[in-house]
Symmetry: C2
Subunit: 319 residues, 2 copies
């Protein structure tokens, strides 16, 4: 029996795949070669998760990989109707990013509450200016996105004493449904987006939404850039509709030096790094090997994405 | 019976003392007038807690206040041998600063772990540069000072998943004694000073101490400035003995514009604000009124400082 073909979308080899040596034929491709290589692959590993090449290269019919794994939490960059309607299984990297992302969000919340950006700015100007800080304990957060990332953010903020409302697509147990979002937003100190990018969430954070927020409130996006109408956020900050914002994800990444976002007052811009704790690439490689071994043994795969929803359905959060 | 005389060390009236109207004669003084006013006061409220005027003005004998309350956690600025040996009761503002200070420290830990200063610096230069972050969960902290502030910092860092060793003067139950400090420091990722300034702690963080720390570790001081030998800390940072530091307190405050501390690589300088959450002055005023009402009624005062130790003895932490 020939070895299965593992096609890696990335020209560099991922780390920690050594255990697969002799068990798979590993082939590498870049975006340009993807369409030609896909019909000959059994498994596709989307290692360059910033690429959206799968969407355009996915074959409409004929031979194609039985399994596509992406080294990311979001699957928005690879899902296309042909892939969604095929019987190919899509899995993601659930489990790798949640804890670092939740710590990143907690760090941003505390940095705004304690005005750390102001402190660093005053330090550069050698100015001693005492300011009062905001208590995080007892403040209120809305976390949009009730998947693993949103739930871990909720857990960590609650550990800091924050009163958190977690909002998912549909209400269930301790999760609020999307219909509660406006009401919860109007009384929140922190609005945190950790939702998947889907047709339902595209552009949902717009002028109407920022107009619901308190003038003292802060918006944080660690989900996907296109959920935020960037111009509307810039307007809300410049008009002081809201007090601050932090974006780790953007409509287009990387952000070019000419982007107007770099110097908006009250906006913290970071380069899509919230989930990337030291060792994250090793963990992604190890995770893929463990999943491959299940696939090879004919066992059910974990982290299977519902291609219709655009994310993994959570039995305790989705109806 | 004449109304007791409440002497306030501050020329401005503290907030929230209205409930005492008609029950005390309130007199105000600055540092220059303190020595002349002390013999006529029943109670001294050290509202300007940045002043060390009490130390020089305290009468060696004769009439003096029966009770001195300071609107601060530390009593280092007012204790002198004559006051320590007198039967005057000294109380502090325990309960007002702990939670904000613990949040401030957690914010600094997360900011270093996620390189928020680097992110803000790159943002100013309009540069997109992805970096890997450090996981806070599972990292190790040493908190020096097992009083209410140190204990609250410990609680909050543990909520973030940090493995915390709390070090007090003497070992007791879950508290390590000072003899364990070197060993714990050598394996810590975060060393946090929240101890009172006493002859035992003066200058304890020096080159010898920083030489024990890991090169990847960070030092944070929210206690009192003179516990740190500032030149030694600057040397340790410039020589990369340690990765970073944050000082909220200094040998002399405020820090002048000529201080060499403002631009030391890896050092965050903030203006003694860690405990000052919005409303802190109101809370200090309310706390004093509640304590005054107990004193007036002849009930025992809370927050009584052991003038020999230089802080409130904690039954569960001090031998």
């Amino acid at each position: 029996m020939p070895e299965p073909v593992l096609l890696v979308l990335d020209t560099d080899p991922p780390p920690r795949l050594g255990a697969l040596t002799g068990r798979v034929q590993v082939r590498h491709t870049d975006a340009a070669g993807l369409a030609g290589a896909l019909p000959h692959a059994d498994v596709l590993l989307v290692w360059d998760f910033t690429s959206d090449a799968v969407r355009s290269a996915w074959p409409g019919g004929g031979p194609r990989p039985a399994w596509v794994h992406t080294a990311s939490a979001g699957v928005d960059r690879l899902l296309c109707p042909e892939l969604a309607e095929s019987d190919t299984v899509v899995t993601n990297a659930r489990g790798v990013f949640e804890q670092p992302m939740s710590e990143y969000v907690a760090g941003l919340v505390l940095a705004f509450a304690k005005d750390l950006p102001g402190t660093l700015d005053l330090q550069r100007r050698r100015r001693w200016r005492h300011r009062e800080t905001v208590r995080v304990a007892g403040s209120r957060a809305v976390v949009v996105g009730a998947g693993p990332v949103g739930r871990e953010i909720t857990r960590l903020l609650m550990a800091l004493g924050v009163e958190v409302a977690l909002v998912g697509r549909t209400a269930r147990r301790t999760i609020h449904g999307a219909g509660d979002l406006d009401r919860l937003t109007a009384r929140a100190d922190w609005v945190i987006c950790a939702a998947p990018l889907t047709p339902r969430t595209y552009g949902m954070f717009d002028s109407r939404f920022f107009g619901l927020m308190q003038p003292s409130a802060v918006f944080i996006n660690v989900g996907r850039g296109p959920m935020v109408v960037q111009d509307d956020l810039v307007g809300a900050l410049r008009s002081r509709w809201i007090a601050g914002a932090a974006l780790d994800v953007f409509e287009r990444e990387p952000l070019g030096p000419d982007s107007p976002l770099w110097d908006v007052p009250g906006l913290i811009v970071s380069p899509h790094m919230s989930g990337d704790a030291v060792g994250w690439r090793d963990r992604l490689g190890e995770q893929f090997v463990a999943m491959y071994e299940r696939w090879e043994a004919g066992e059910p795969l974990p982290n299977v994405v519902d291609k219709r929803l655009g994310h993994i359905p959570s039995p305790d959060t989705e109806g």
